[in-house]
């Protein structure tokens, strides 16, 4: 059978089965097991109402247990066995072998780098985009376009950026956008300004910003106003992240100022040690900035986080301009009003 037809059949069977299950089990409960008539009518209704929630929950709980809860334990259990050899129990042998592998330690470090840099960059760009687009008339269109990569798969994004980072022999014309721009630089004064001074200034100001943000996070602790231990831990982590970012940015600053720039020869961007991670991170930042922008924009305007929460419980709007503009320029205004909360506009 053709898979599309099969899918159609499955949709019908699956949906019909689900509806049939819910309807039928309710019917059986009310009419057969605990019928609401005869001597025990009242007790039966109560009993049926005690059972009914579990009828509604059963398919979801069964799937959750089988597909999410069970695998957690099964994976943990499987990780203690030697599946390459005779399948015997080897305790933490797999883990020690994993940490002994230099590739694993390297990838763990890379993961940490991604974990710090990508959210920081996406949030930073998202905040910038939210602040800027909230102030202009065509902000909704701009938001929509910046948000668009959220819908693109990682595989699609990798093809898109393959076209950006593509590198070819110097004799051929470059079809990668980045290399085409790169080949425009010839080492003159313009190159010096655009490739040394401008990036250095940007990185230096970013570095200063990160250090200042880290200081803002840690300052209450130095003044003895720590709060509870959870807050202290949060502040410590925040400061550590800021410090790490500052260290990376300082490395960048040195790199930007001292890197030997090979003008006129196309660069293989994704094979440059250290920097290639960042070229790949750029793809993820490109995808996720829109997400940060939408959340931050909503927060800055003081619209409710969830449709279910009434408007009055939200934080007061930050500034006069945002409260005044909320009704008129709220992005996709009809989407904020749930069935109960009428739009104030």
């Amino acid at each position: 059978m053709h898979p599309a037809l099969q899918a159609l059949v499955v949709i019908v069977i699956g949906v019909g089965g689900c509806v049939g299950y819910f309807y039928g089990s309710n019917l059986i409960l009310d009419k057969v097991i605990f019928p609401a008539r005869g001597a025990d009518a009242g007790r039966n209704i109560n009993r049926a109402n005690m059972v009914r929630p579990w009828l509604f929950l059963f398919p979801a709980l069964a799937l959750l247990c089988l597909y999410l809860a069970y695998p957690v334990f099964a994976t943990a259990w499987l990780s203690l066995f030697d599946t390459n050899g005779d399948g015997s129990f080897i305790g933490f042998g797999n883990y020690s072998a994993m940490f002994a592998e230099p590739k694993f330690v390297e990838s763990l470090k890379n993961n940490m780098l991604w974990l710090v840099v990508v959210p920081a960059a996406a949030t930073g760009f998202g905040l910038l985009a939210a602040q800027l687009t909230d102030r202009i008339r065509w902000g909704n269109i701009a938001k929509s376009l910046i948000f668009m990569p959220m819908a693109i798969s990682f595989v699609g994004a990798s093809v898109i950026f393959k076209l950006i980072y593509d590198s070819r022999d110097a004799a051929l014309s470059q079809i990668g956008l980045l290399n085409a721009l790169w080949m425009k630089f010839d080492g003159g004064i313009g190159s010096f300004l655009l490739l040394r001074v401008l990036p250095a200034a940007l990185v230096a100001s970013l570095l200063a910003g990160v250090l200042y943000a880290g200081w803002l996070v840690i300052r209450p602790l130095t003044q003895g106003k720590g709060g509870n231990s959870l807050t202290i831990a949060g502040r410590a982590i925040g400061a550590a992240v800021a410090l790490f970012l500052a260290w990376e940015l300082a490395t960048w600053l040195v790199g930007v100022l001292t890197n030997e720039l090979r003008y006129g020869s196309p660069q293989v961007w994704l094979q440059k040690p250290y920097w290639n991670s960042y070229f790949l991170m750029a793809v993820l930042v490109w995808i996720q900035t829109g997400f940060a922008m939408v959340i931050l924009s909503a927060a800055l305007r003081g619209v409710p986080e969830t449709p279910s929460r009434p408007r009055s419980s939200t934080a007061p709007t930050r500034s006069r301009s945002s409260s005044r503009s909320r009704c008129r320029r709220s992005w996709a205004p009809s989407s904020w009003s749930g069935p109960r909360s009428p739009s104030p506009c």
Partner: protein, 378 residues
């Protein structure tokens, strides 16, 4: 806003320009792919997509002189054309070492009295004192400027004909086959569970909600090996049934969480009135809750659909690699490996695979935003 604009026009301009720059930065990569997907393969590799509207200077692949030999004034002449399209010859040569040795109209001496003339419009004349039949005729290396050329052939090619063993059209159908049931089933299952968790009283409800929210953090990578073993054990192996179940399982915590949060916010009066009037829970659910929860259902449906459509990992694990099961993302990964240099194929395929998510995204954006703000991100 008007007041800001009125007070500080310079600042407003700075904001406008920054937004334009930001939007360009975010749109240009995708736009480049779109433009490339409509260019011919030759044009894509001969110039960047941003030059798509200008004339292309392009080294043609070598063309061997061929044609009927005519005896003329004691010499043997072959006439022919290098190309028939609206192309302008810029330079030509007869060896790969010096492909630009001659200008259009020049006559090249090929030795032993053989001469070759190539005109700007591509017409060439080979003259030889002895007959050339049975000898190897020279090759012409031409550099030409070709006008911009756009085509939809890339799309018809990738959709209909097999690439890397499978056509994109087939992969498209397979992806649809995965995505639709994997979107519909979790919604249905989750809606009932969410109603029970929101509006039915039973012991342990709060704990159950907490547990389900806790399951949100389980990374699905953790589940792959045990689940595949489980699928093999119950005999469904790799196939559509398995991936539908897997996507349903992975999507449920989010669906239940989203829908329950929404349903809790529905007005209590309506539900209690219905109960007083003798409606059963099943009736309340289907007649009142479901219609009122439409926005939440829609936003989850979009999220789940985008997630399933764009998924590569789950499909790699739970689906086979045959023609009848390979999905778009998997197909694209194969193409990048085997046809990585064929940009016209790659760009058209990639655009086919991202077209549906983009369409869903732009047409249902407000639901997507609402779902996002309700905390729906994997």
């Amino acid at each position: 806003m008007d007041s800001i604009a009125g007070k500080k026009p310079a600042l407003m301009w700075a904001v406008q320009i920054s937004v334009v720059a930001l939007v360009l930065l975010w749109v240009v990569p995708t736009f480049g792919l779109l433009v490339s997907s409509f260019r011919t393969g030759d044009q894509i590799v001969s110039s960047g997509w941003w030059q798509a509207l200008t004339e292309q200077e392009q080294q043609l692949s070598p063309i061997r002189v061929e044609g009927a030999e005519v005896a003329l004034d004691g010499a043997f002449v072959i006439e022919g054309r290098l190309f028939t399209s609206a192309t302008d010859l810029l330079a030509w040569g007869t060896s790969s070492v010096q492909p630009n040795a001659y200008a259009p109209g020049d006559t090249a001496d090929l030795g032993e009295g053989v001469t070759l003339t190539v005109q700007a419009d591509g017409a060439y004349v080979l003259t030889s004192p002895v007959t050339t039949i049975g000898t190897r005729l020279p090759r012409i290396f031409a550099t030409a400027s070709t006008p911009p050329e756009f085509t939809t052939r890339n799309y018809t090619n990738v959709i209909a004909s097999p690439m890397a063993g499978q056509s994109i059209g087939q992969a498209f159908l397979n992806t649809l086959t995965v995505a639709i049931p994997a979107t519909v089933i979790p919604i249905l299952v989750a809606a009932f569970a969410a109603y029970a968790l929101a509006w039915m009283d039973f012991p342990g409800r709060a704990l159950l909600v907490a547990l389900i929210v806790g399951l949100l953090v389980v990374p699905l990578q953790l589940a792959l090996i045990p689940l595949l073993q489980f699928h093999n054990w119950i005999g469904i192996g790799k196939g559509y049934l398995g991936i539908w179940m897997a996507h349903t399982g992975f999507g449920l915590p989010l669906a239940i969480y989203l829908l329950r949060n929404y349903m809790v916010g529905l007005p209590r009066d309506i539900i209690e009135n219905a109960k007083v009037d003798g409606a059963t829970d099943f009736q309340i659910f289907t007649r009142i809750i479901l219609p009122l929860s439409f926005p939440a259902l829609a936003s989850f449906a979009i999220f789940q659909f985008l997630w399933v459509w764009n998924d590569l990992l789950v499909a790699l694990i739970f689906l086979g690699t045959g023609n009848d099961q390979q999905v778009l993302t998997g197909n694209l990964v194969n193409l990048m490996g085997s046809r990585g240099g064929d940009w016209e194929i790659l760009s058209a395929s990639a655009f086919v695979s991202i077209a549906v998510p983009l369409l869903v995204f732009f047409s249902m954006q407000r639901f997507l935003v609402r779902g996002l703000l309700a905390g729906s991100v994997k």
